[in-house]
Amino acid sequence: MTKWTMVQAIRDALHLALQSDPNVLILGEDVGRNGGVFRVTDGLWQAFGDERVIDTPLSEAGIIGASLGLSLNGFKPIVEIQFMSFIYPGFEQIVSHIARFRTRTQGVFSAPLVIRVPYGGGIHAPELHSDSTESLFVHIPGLKVVTPATPTDAKGLLLSAIRDPDPVLFLEPLKLYRSIKEEVTDGWYEIPIGKAKVVRRGEDVTLLAWGAMVPVAMETAKYWENKGVTCEVIDLRSLYPLDEAAILASAKRTGRVVIVHEAPRTAGLGAEVAALIQEEAFLYLEAPILRVTGYDVPVPMYALEASFRPDVKRVSRAIQRVISY
């Protein structure tokens, strides 16, 4: 056991996967010699060579499309897209092929890629590097979408994704890449896709968050605890499929729900979660389900990024509203 950042935990998972299965490949821009622009793949090229850890041309459609081809003959490509803001050139390959391949081939093939994508803001990145468009992918049937909020979850979820027989979009919150260190279990372990995690127990309000919003939710929960209001904080982790059981159980218990995400509000994943809860837990709700989200504006450059992102103050307001409703 060592204290690791999320970057280290992900690297460890990749190392284990490369080690345990000769068919695992890593492909992406700068993932090889350079070890990835965030150093996630640091050392893997040196350890496993150019045929396992592959620096590709600058070509997202090419990377994702070729990885599908590789997967047909038994390889397990783990693709790194440098930033979520740059996944769009590969969007057609994901929507029209990766997500539909199992259906279109009636189960003969399945395009079981893992696509790793750093996402979200909060790190003063250059312009157009901070998109958080998870809901676009959640809407595409045939894809699984997961995102960890801790190093331990990152490793366990990634290993699950790698074992998964279906394509998984693995979203890595940039803001949390190095901000948390924790002891991470050695060796192979899996955290099941489809399971949310209750990260704090509470009775009065349910806070639903994922990725970099989990610490924001936690901080807000702490703040309210002093005032006698306990929040249950749930890290969804799995964005598709959603852990409906966990979400609904908590919502039914507290009757008050606030959803926090950094993506713009309209048609964000918060909408789905709210729609789901009001449908399934209607009679339990004491107040409307509120969403604290990015605004419906292009993700701003970093000077205004703090104003765009949900923070303790905004989440706090929403809690105030639901408890005083």
Binding site: G69, L70, N73, E92, R102, T103, T105, Q106, S110, G142
Partner: protein, 360 residues
């Protein structure tokens, strides 16, 4: 070079059904059996294609993409492959499909709107048609890459049209093929049009083959209505690929005699004379039949018999296809994921319940 590319193509059988000098050499290398296969498959494919148009008109098939005119390009290239090679077709490659051994019933199912028609069969690596243009090119590149990494001798072939060369995926696929020197064949049927748009509006390049220059692998232009030339050129590309010499781009110059699909009206965008010209002068089947007859490899009665046999097989497959009961609505959920997540279970149940009960 430009002029080279425009005038230079590989032709072994002239439009009049005569062997060229090179053609004679090629011809002598091939078995009679293969020569007859060329004819048989082209005939079969043509009769299938014509029947499909009839079925579509009768409402027994959905919108269909005819291939008449492209039989030589498809049959000639397909016969150069083995069942270990990966094939990534478009929506117009029925000729490739059938020649390579993909079941006729599957092809029929596909055009009847049934996903079962997409299903790859074992002992063959023929993938479902790529509908979004050019998207299959990176797939073929990836499959070839896998073969190279595994040191298998298989090649991968992406079939696509002239219009596809304008898409980013064409470029990205070719670029990967070049960089990683992959055993892939990029087989373009330049049939002159992308729906209504002529190749001159598609590209300033006068040929597709010259596009290969940018990726530093060979681009070869071949008379796509000459089954012998297509076969030989493809065979060479296959050989190169198997020997580790990397990709080849093949441009088979041909012509789509009919509409883009049964929903298209080509008289809106191309002159009748052009169609006549191509259909008369360059028909791949007529030309080849002439040649075979010159060589006494085909008689009128054999021809008649084979056509009857084709029709019989086609009719039988149609019957078979139409007798296959469509899977139930819950089949929507059958292959979305390896294991159905709970929310999908619920949706599936809704479908099941709905189908059982009356309205309201």
């Amino acid at each position: 070079m430009s002029s080279d590319y425009e005038s230079d193509w590989v032709q072994y059988i002239s439009a009049e059904g005569q062997l060229t000098t090179d053609g004679r050499k090629a011809w002598e290398q091939l078995s009679d059996q293969l020569k007859i296969q060329f004819y048989r498959w082209m005939t079969f494919v043509r009769l299938f294609d014509r029947k499909m148009i009839v079925l579509q008109r009768q409402g027994r098939m959905g919108t269909y993409a005819p291939l008449e005119g492209q039989e030589a390009a498809q049959v000639g290239s397909a016969l150069a492959l083995t069942d270990q090679d990966w094939v990534f077709p478009t929506y117009r490659e029925h000729g490739v499909a059938l020649t390579i051994g993909f079941p006729l019933t599957h092809v029929l199912l596909y055009w009847a709107g049934r996903v079962e028609g997409c299903k790859p069969v074992s002992n063959l690596r023929y993938l479902p048609p790529a509908v979004p243009i050019a998207t299959q090119i990176p797939h073929a590149v990836g499959a070839a890459w896998a073969a190279k990494l595994k040191k298998e001798q298989t090649v991968a072939v992406a079939y696509f049209g002239d219009g596809a060369t304008s898409e980013g995926d064409f470029h990205e696929g070719c670029n990967f093929a070049g960089v990683f020197q992959l055993p892939v064949i990029l087989f373009c049927q330049n049939n002159g049009y992308a729906i209504s748009v002529p190749f001159s509006r598609q590209s300033a390049a006068k040929t597709v083959a010259e596009r290969a220059l940018a990726y530093r692998f060979p681009g070869i232009r071949v008379d796509g209505n000459d089954v012998l030339a297509v076969y030989m050129v493809t065979s060479q590309a296959v050989k190169r690929a198997r020997e580790g010499q990397g990709p080849t781009l093949i441009e088979a110059v041909t012509y789509r005699k009919g509409p883009h699909t049964t929903a298209d009206d080509p008289s809106r965008y191309r002159p009748r004379e052009e169609v006549k010209h191509w259909s008369r002068q360059f028909d791949p089947l007529t030309r080849y039949q002439l040649l075979l007859k010159n060589f006494q490899l085909l008689t009128d009665s054999e021809e008649e018999a084979w056509e009857l046999e084709c029709k019989r097989r086609i009719e039988q497959a149609i019957k078979e296809m139409e007798s296959l009961t469509s899977p139930p609505p819950t089949h929507l959920f059958a292959h979305v994921f390896s294991d159905l997540p709970p929310a999908l279970h619920k949706q599936r149940l809704q479908v099941k319940q709905k189908e059982g009960k009356e309205h309201d």
